[in-house]
Amino acid sequence: MIINQFLVLAALLFSVGIYGVLVRRNAVLVLLSIELMLMAVNINLVAFGSLLQDALRGGHIFALFVITVSAAEVGIGLAIVILVFRNRSSANVDELDLMKW
């Protein structure tokens, strides 16, 4: 295994996630696309961690931190989406322009 195959795969998944964030208007699907991007970042981190194999295992440890933070992000994000859906009965991010000046 060479490092470039993991880098190219992660870049592909990341750009698919970016496409999803830009195109989808449903807030839940935007959150799912963000998860895709975080997954791509994790692949890069673990690949570099296995390539370097340093004493601190930096890549693997940081991948664990990214997983934790994204779990927190999904919890809060989904709570916000549920709240918005309850108040406005729509999850379209284009209609959430209350705070737009």
Partner: protein
């Protein structure tokens, strides 16, 4: 290393299969109009990434992905979709086609930039081989509770804050 040489190693064939499944699943996530299908396809893509982590020898990260992502996050998405009486089945918000071409352009540009930047930092045409090596769960735990104990505590505090925030946001106000 030519492509034939590369593909003759059995682990690379496995990588090719897993990455194709992951790519198809992630494309499905962003194009499908069915929210439940999108969440299930995300679970498939995450399972593929856990398989890649196992190939790279990061066993603890792989099983954390399975537990946290597939076991918790995707289930949380499905619960969120079903509890809120959100329109299941078809997504009522249509994809605007005037937006999809610029978005595809941005995605391709991002892909090209990231690929060139990351692969060229290892030299064009050079193959940086990943050595076999397993990062043992015990060693990882040792590091996590010695060297990285302060980030670990910070992240656990963040999780606590997210837990309380989620409860506060999602519960009904008793005064109403």
């Amino acid at each position: 290393m030519s492509f034939g040489e590369w593909v003759s190693q059995s682990e690379n064939v496995l990588f090719l299969l897993v990455s194709l499944v992951m790519l198809m699943a992630s494309v499905w996530v962003v194009v499908t109009r069915n929210l439940v299908h999108a969440a299930l396809m995300l679970a498939l893509a995450l399972a593929g990434s856990a398989g890649l982590f196992l190939m790279l020898g990061a066993e603890f990260v792989a099983w954390t992905v399975v537990l946290v992502y597939i076991g918790a996050v995707v289930v949380l998405f499905l619960f969120g979709l079903m509890i809120t009486r959100a329109p299941l089945g078809r997504d009522p918000v249509p994809v605007s086609h005037s937006r999809s071409w610029p978005a595809a352009l941005v995605a391709v540009a991002v892909f090209a930039t990231i690929t060139v930047a990351t692969t060229s930092s290892f030299g064009w045409g050079e193959d940086t081989v990943i050595e076999e090596g397993i990062s043992r769960t015990g060693a990882l735990g040792d590091l996590l509770f010695n060297r990285f104990v302060i980030p670990f505590e910070a992240v656990s505090f963040l999780l606590l804050a997210a837990l309380i925030g989620g409860i506060v946001l999602a519960r009904k106000d008793p005064k109403e």
